[in-house]
C-alpha cells in the first residue's frame, strides 16, 4: 500500500536534519537507500507543542517493545500522530534515545565544521535542538524518539543488543498521518551503532496523499486499544483541530 503518486521526494544525506509539518491524511515514506540507515524522529502537535510523541504510551498501549506495521505512534494525549501502514523492515527502535555530542566524540572522534565542512560528525541531540528551536522547542521539550530502521533486542536478563544488519538497501516504512503533526527528523547514526567509521547513510523521504482509512483498516483493528486511539483522534480532528475534518473517514 504505497498511497498515491508522490507529491515530493528528496534525499537526505547521512548525518543531517530536517523538519516539516504533515497534515492529517498525508503519507510519509522513508526509504533506507543503501541499507543500515537511521532516522531519528520526534513528533509534536503544531497547534499545541505540549502534546508530543510519547514512547512509553506507544509501547504500553500496544504491548510492544518494537515498532512495525500495524502500530500507531501515540501522543501523550491518547491520540495518534501516525500509523505504520507498511513496513518492509519489521523492527524499529524507540527505547535507545539519540546520539549526543559526547557519544559521537568518544566513538568516532570529533570532526569540526571548520575542517570538514558538511562532512562533520553531527549528533542526534544537536540535530533535534536545531530543528526544534525553529518552533520554539528547547532542551526541556526533547523526549524519547523513534529510531527508524534500528533494531535493538532485549535478552531475558534485559541485556540490549543492536542488530546492524536489520535494514537492507531499499528497506522502507510508510507512515499515514492521522492528525496534523510537526515532524523533526535527522539521519545521524543510531546511538548503539558501533561501526568503525561514523555511519553516513542517506534516506529518501517521499510525501504523498494517503488512501482514506477503510472500514477494515489494519492499524485501526490491530488491537482494541488502537480503535479507541483512532476514536480519540477522530474526535479531535472533527471538533478540536484547526483544519477541522482534514479528510473524510
Amino acid at each position: 500500500m504505497s498511497g498515491e503518486s508522490a507529491i515530493y521526494e528528496t534525499l537526505i544525506e547521512g548525518g543531517k536534519h530536517w523538519s516539516f509539518t504533515m497534515r492529517a491524511g498525508m503519507q510519509l515514506r522513508l526509504i533506507d537507500s543503501n541499507g543500515g540507515a537511521n532516522v531519528g524522529m520526534l513528533l509534536y502537535n503544531p497547534q499545541n507543542v505540549l502534546e508530543r510523541y510519547n514512547a512509553p504510551d506507544t509501547l504500553k498501549c500496544q504491548h510492544t517493545f518494537k515498532l512495525t506495521k500495524g502500530h500507531c505512534l501515540y501522543s501523550d494525549m491518547g491520540r495518534i500522530f501516525c500509523s505504520i501502514i507498511d513496513d518492509s523492515v519489521g523492527w524499529h527502535d524507540t527505547v535507545c534515545g539519540t546520539s549526543t555530542q559526547r557519544l559521537v566524540a568518544e566513538r568516532w572522534g570529533e570532526r569540526s565544521y571548520q575542517q570538514y565542512r558538511n562532512g562533520w560528525t553531527q549528533n542526534g541531540q544537536d540535530a533535534f535542538l536545531v530543528e526544534g528551536a525553529k518552533y520554539g522547542l528547547g532542551r526541556r521539550d526533547l523526549a524519547a524518539n523513534v529510531n527508524w530502521f534500528g533494531k535493538v533486542c532485549a535478552a531475558e536478563d534485559g541485556a540490549l543488543s543492536f542488530d546492524a544488519a536489520n535494514s537492507p538497501a531499499g528497506g522502507y516504512v510508510d507512515l499515514r498521518f492521522e492528525m496534523d503533526s510537526l515532524v523533526l527528523l535527522h539521519t545521524c547514526p543510531h546511538p548503539l551503532n558501533m561501526s568503525d567509521q561514523y555511519p553516513r547513510n542517506p534516506v529518501l523521504v517521499r510525501f504523498s496523499k494517503a488512501k482514506p482509512v477503510g472500514g477494515d483498516d489494519f492499524c485501526v483493528y490491530s488491537r482494541p486499544e488502537n480503535a479507541r486511539g483512532f476514536a480519540n483522534t477522530e474526535l479531535y480532528r472533527l471538533c478540536g483541530s484547526e483544519a477541522g475534518g482534514g479528510r473524510a473517514v
Binding site: A55, F65, T68, M77, G78, A144, L160
Partner: protein, 219 residues
C-alpha cells in the same frame, strides 16, 4: 532470571526524614548530594512513578532512554546509574531488595487510560495528574508539563520478550521491599504514588509508600 539484590545497612531510626505517601498522592523534595533516599513498598506491588531533575538545571533531567542505553540493559537494579539528558549521573541505586524495576512503561494518565481501558476512564485520577499538581503547587521550582517525561516505575515488573513484546507481569516486589538511591548531585525528586485502579498488577488496590532520607555522615 538474573537479579541482584542488595540489602541496606542503614537504620530507619537514624533517618533524618520519614514520611508515608498515600496512593494517589505525590512527594516532591530536593536531595542533597550524597544523601540517601529509600522508597518502601509498604504493602507490596505498588508502583512509585519517579522523576529526577538536576536541581541546578531543570532541563538536565532523568532520561530513561539514555539510562538504559548506556547500561545496555532495559531493567534497573542495584548499581544502575540514573543518567540525565546531558549524560550526567543524577543518582545511583545503592540497595534494592526487589531485583529489577521498570523504566519503559511511563506514567498513567487519563488520556492513556482511555486507550488502554475504555474512553470513559478519562476522568480517573492518574500519576500524570499527581505530577502536574506537584509542579503546580511548587511552581517556584520552574517545572511544568513539558518537564514531565518518561519516569521510573519502582517496584513494577514489565518484562520484554525477545521477539519484541512487552507484558505487565505480577510484581517481583512484596510488603516491606525497598529500593535505595544515593544522590550524585543535588537533585529534585518527584514521586507519584500510582492511583491506578484498572491494572491487575496492584490487584486493583493501590497502597501507601514510605520515603526515608539519611544524611551522608551516618554511613
Amino acid at each position: 532470571m538474573k537479579t541482584l539484590r542488595e540489602e541496606s545497612a542503614l537504620l530507619p531510626a537514624e533517618a533524618v526524614f520519614r514520611q508515608v505517601v498515600p496512593a494517589g498522592d505525590y512527594w516532591i523534595d530536593t536531595l542533597k548530594q550524597d544523601q540517601v533516599l529509600r522508597i518502601v513498598d509498604v504493602e507490596g506491588n505498588q508502583s512509585a512513578d519517579t522523576l529526577f531533575f538536576n536541581a541546578a538545571d531543570i532541563a538536565d533531567r532523568y532520561s530513561a532512554v539514555d539510562t538504559i542505553r548506556e547500561q545496555r540493559n532495559v531493567y534497573l537494579r542495584c548499581g544502575s546509574k540514573l543518567l540525565s539528558t546531558s549524560g550526567n549521573v543524577l543518582a545511583q541505586i545503592v540497595a534494592d531488595t526487589v531485583g529489577r524495576h521498570d523504566t519503559l512503561g511511563g506514567a498513567c494518565a487519563g488520556e492513556s487510560n482511555t486507550v488502554r481501558y475504555a474512553l470513559e476512564k478519562r476522568t480517573m485520577h492518574s500519576c500524570r495528574d499527581s505530577f502536574i499538581l506537584a509542579v503546580s503547587h511548587h511552581d517556584h521550582l520552574g517545572l511544568g508539563k513539558r518537564d514531565l517525561t518518561h519516569n521510573i516505575n519502582f517496584f513494577m515488573n514489565v518484562p520484554v520478550t525477545q521477539d519484541g513484546g512487552l507484558s505487565f507481569a505480577d510484581g517481583l516486589s512484596g510488603p516491606g521491599q525497598y529500593v535505595e538511591l544515593r544522590a550524585a548531585m543535588d537533585i529534585i525528586v518527584l514521586i507519584s504514588n500510582c492511583p491506578q485502579l484498572n491494572n491487575p498488577c496492584n490487584a486493583y488496590n493501590p497502597t501507601p509508600l514510605e520515603v526515608l532520607i539519611w544524611n551522608p555522615d551516618v554511613r
